[in-house]
């Protein structure tokens, strides 16, 4: 199924949760979904017969623009052999996104990484710890406005 059809289908079911379809961007179009609907939308994407997005290829945290962060979902369907990109855009001062770990198991670690690197907070995440950085690290390194901490456990960090 093409992105436009998927968008229309989602729009007809969720209406307000689905915000926008961007097709004029290189290389692939994407759909923007609101943060408090992403779990329901994901479940629909996975279980609807004509969609069947049974695998989450990749989940990335992105420093979207000056005020926003994004959580990007690349979905793929083994059954229908089609792809779609979903984005959830949240403000930096309240980066709250619903977790989709119960829809795709692989999301659990990817969400932990997005939290660690970008500071996206996933609601209902079963294990919301940092994954790559130490548990007591400060800040989220992949944000554009990240300032590295001066000392970590008495060790000077920037060398």
């Amino acid at each position: 199924m093409e992105a436009a059809e998927i968008f229309n289908l989602l729009k007809s079911v969720f209406n307000e949760g689905i915000m926008e379809l961007k097709t004029d961007v290189p290389v692939a179009p994407f759909i923007i979904v609101s943060a408090d609907k992403i779990n329901a939308v994901s479940l629909f994407l996975r279980d609807e017969d004509t969609l069947q997005f049974d695998s989450l290829s990749c989940l990335s945290g992105v420093d979207y623009d000056k005020d926003n962060l994004a959580s990007v979902y690349h979905l793929y369907s083994f059954v229908h052999n089609h792809k779609i990109t979903i984005k959830v855009i949240v403000p930096k001062d309240n980066p709250l996104v619903q977790s989709v770990y119960d829809v795709w198991a692989t999301a659990e670690w990817h969400e932990r990484e997005a939290f660690d690197m970008m500071g996206l907070k996933y609601e209902n995440h079963p294990d919301p710890r940092r994954i790559l950085c130490p548990d007591d690290w400060e800040g989220h390194p992949l944000r554009k406005d990240y300032k590295v901490q001066e000392f970590y456990k008495g060790m000077k960090v920037p060398y």
């Binding site: 290189p26 695998s55 989450l56 990749c58 990007v72 083994f78 198991a105 670690w109 790559l132």
Partner: protein, 372 residues
């Protein structure tokens, strides 16, 4: 006499441990020999790859991709180059594509040899490990004569290659193909169909197909569960559509579909398929210039791409966002090992301590691409 109190024991396997394939720590909860829970802790090898990329120009990233999965540098470069080429919308010459495929398939053989050898070592058989390394050496010699490096090549560039293949490469590659076919049989006799090895690896770490897909498994891990899916066939890139090869899948010949032996066997069979591809490609390399399509300045328009390729470990995805400048705005690597390691707890619970090592080994994780 009062009943003795029993309690589970927590064991830290790693970060320094012979079988964790790098600096990985597994926190095991054990009831005697039985594993109740596995909690992987990663990040010991975190090198800020993604942050680094944002400060690099597009071609400068390539040497860093080598270091993601360091036993598989060619395929990492290939994935990155393909992603950027799609973003730029450029075509590369046929000759480049052929050489890329040959390199990627040779690299697959080398990577699988490491996987198989270390897996033998995990079961306690040390000799197959060295046999595999002798054969891997032959592949590395081919790479060395091509680009001078043995592990981290910086060979596949955006739009082309750093050098053309040297004289004698074709002849040497053919010699290798002839030499390597019987070696696979030798390996099978020594390790694959060894009774003890079979007993150790069947019916443990069973990964059913639906769980595998839901958890994002890919590559030999997914195919070991019986799913006939290979990006080279199902979502073709480069010139793979021109070659004839099979996709080996786990059939549960000796145990259950999706057990460790199946995943192991998929790798062994994939080496034969890779040989087939190299055999078909090596004779038909078209003439041409391998550096002609390399752009002088790589400056894609603002946009983004998620591009995925089939590396020996599974699906390697690059999510690259460009803001129209010379540096990438964001590079996210979706590494197969990262996803597979997250499966550890689910499929090694209830087995024995010795099996945890084998389940981990059957995923063939490389910490370089997990921690990035």
């Amino acid at each position: 006499m009062a009943e003795l109190k029993t309690d589970e024991m927590v064991i830290n396997m790693g970060p320094q441990h012979p079988s964790t394939h790098g600096v990985l720590r597994l926190e095991l909860l054990l009831d005697g020999e039985i594993v109740e829970n596995v909690k992987p802790h990663i990040g010991y090898l975190h090198r800020c790859f993604e942050k680094h990329c944002e400060a690099m120009t597009y071609p400068q990233v390539i040497p860093y991709t080598d270091r993601l999965d360091y036993v598989n540098a060619m395929s990492n470069e290939l994935g990155y180059a393909i992603a950027i080429e799609k973003l730029l919308g450029i075509e590369v010459p046929e000759r480049v594509e052929y050489i890329r495929v040959i390199m990627a398939e040779l690299q697959r053989i080398a990577s699988h040899l490491v996987a198989i050898g270390t897996y033998g070592n995990d079961t306690g058989a040390f000799t197959p490990f060295l046999y595999c390394f002798i054969d891997r050496e032959k592949v590395l010699e081919l790479f060395e004569m091509t680009c001078g490096a043995r592990m981290l090549y910086n060979y596949i560039w955006v739009g082309g290659l750093s050098h053309d293949i040297p004289d004698g490469f074709v002849k040497k590659t053919k010699e290798f193909i002839k030499y390597f076919r019987p070696k696979i049989k030798q390996l099978n006799d020594l390790l694959t169909f060894n009774k003890i090895f079979i007993e150790r690896t069947i019916n443990i770490g069973i990964l059913p197909a639906d769980v595998a897909i839901n958890a994002g498994a890919s590559g030999p891990t997914l195919r070991g569960s019986g799913v006939k899916f290979d990006l080279r066939k199902n979502d073709p890139y480069s010139v793979y559509h021109k070659f004839d090869f099979d996709i080996p899948i786990g059939k549960g010949e000796l145990g259950t579909v999706g057990d460790c032996w199946d995943r192991y066997m998929v790798r062994v069979r994939e080496m034969e398929e890779s040989l087939k591809i190299v055999e078909q490609a090596i004779d038909n390399i078209p003439e041409g210039d391998v550096t002609s399509a390399i752009p002088k300045r790589i400056k894609p328009v603002a946009g983004e791409i998620y591009s995925r390729t089939e590396v020996p470990k599974g699906e390697l995805g690059y999510y690259i966002i460009s803001d129209g400048s010379l540096n990438p705005y964001r590079v996210k690597v979706r590494s197969p090992s990262f996803v597979h390691l997250s499966l550890m707890n689910q499929i090694s619970r209830g087995y024995m301590l010795a099996d945890v090592v084998l389940v981990l080994g059957s995923f063939d994780v490389v910490l370089g691409e997990i921690d990035r």
